[in-house]
């Protein structure tokens, strides 16, 4: 009659032991997902930022499909402004407000062919010069889940809980940064990042997430390449 409680006590011991091992391992492995990335660059003209010149990072939102996440825009802006060779980055919200309504998503120019017409509107060229923005970097793309599978079952009771199973999912982060030179009203080039990765989550009592951080990798790769592309003049 006393055997059952005894067995349960032992069970708790294994479970708490498992937790004490699994939690640190989980934390260590959580950041170790594996990603494949490809960064490409096409240059159409020289791009060097002179003193007093700035860039602005804007997200393409004209069709609302595959809209670039604001977190990705913020990440690129942050990395370019604070990296090893920081660039003069004009805050995008401030720029869009100053240029209102010309850079609102549904009316912003879609190609450099429209730039001369935009700059011809009263006050537009002067306002751009006031902001100091020489290059506009248009971000396009998003992170999407392209596949997933596996199964996991979790249960909970007043005395504890746990999970058992295995899950996985594959994410793809495809982004493109097109650089426009406002001074010459022309395209200066393009940098793209295609990053994919599969995340795994085996669960034996405690789920262990092995996350492939594709968006973060795409942000780092794209920002690194853009900072080389738009080097600040010494």
């Amino acid at each position: 009659m006393n055997k059952t409680p005894g067995m349960h006590s032992k069970g708790y011991g294994i479970r708490f032991g498992a937790i004490s091992v699994f939690v640190p391992v989980t934390l260590l492995l959580a950041a170790s997902g594996c990603v494949n990335s490809r960064i490409e660059q096409v240059r159409q003209g020289s791009t060097v930022l002179q003193d007093g010149e700035a860039i602005v990072i804007l997200a393409r939102r004209h069709d609302h499909a595959g809209e670039t996440e604001s977190s990705f825009t913020d990440c690129i802006e942050d990395k370019l402004a604070k990296g090893d060779s920081p660039l003069n980055v004009h805050p995008n919200k401030e720029f869009i407000d100053a240029m209102f309504p010309w850079f609102e998503p549904s009316v912003a120019p879609l190609s450099t062919d429209s730039l001369p017409q935009l700059l011809a509107h009263p006050g537009v060229r002067d306002k751009i010069e006031q902001t100091g923005v020489r290059y506009v970097v248009w971000l396009d793309g998003s992170t999407e889940r392209i596949d997933s599978g596996g199964s996991m079952t979790c249960a909970i009771s007043p005395t504890g809980g746990g999970c058992l199973g295995f899950g996985w999912w594959e994410d793809a982060s495809d982004y493109e940064a097109t650089v426009w030179d406002l001074k010459s009203s022309s395209a200066a080039g393009m940098v793209s990042a295609d990053v994919s990765g599969t995340s795994y989550m085996p669960a034996f009592v405690v789920p262990i997430p092995l996350i492939a951080r594709t968006q973060s990798a795409a942000c780092s790769g794209l920002a690194r390449q853009l900072s080389l592309f738009l080097a600040q003049a010494p």
Partner: protein
Amino acid sequence: MGAMKKTNNRLFIRPRPSAIRTLPVLVLVALSACTHSVPVDTEFPEPLIAPMPVAVAVYYDESLIDFEHTEFIEQGSDWKVKLGDANLKMFERLFGSMFQNLVPVASPEAGFAEGSRFEAIIIPAIEEMQVAPPRYGESEFFEAWIQYRVEAFHPNREPIVNWLVSGYGRSEGSMLQPSKSLQEATVLAMRDAAANIVIKFRQQPRIREWLDQQEGADE
């Protein structure tokens, strides 16, 4: 057997099964029964445009100034968006930059009565609004769609234009601050409509004709 039963009870949640089983349901009911209130308070930037060289009267109806929209969601929370005076701020900012001389009037009649002072009387109104929260497996975004009607009349009450203009905005859904996400989507929708009003109002054929008439009259 009694002790065994007691152990089993403790392990297999017999003591208070109803409370534990119904807790998630109660949480869901509580969440689904509530109405999220979303106040929208924002400032609009000054449009970078040259004003049209005309004097117009503008009448802001009460329904525009204190507009509220409630979206009833099946099997989910309802959303009440309170635009408050955001519409008024938006139109004051837009029209103030679009027209060289803008005079708010207390009623359309007051505008027509003082017709000799103006080249047109403008009446903006909000026609329709829709919002949508994220839908599991379909969309991760809060979305807002808003439609305005802009009517313009000659001082002799003849209509110049009756124009519908829409704006759309969406914002990534946030589990922690859903109201903020919907507020962002609503502001983006209003800005989208505002951008279209600023740029496309003067491109309307009837408005171009009217502007040409004013220029002709000045000469």
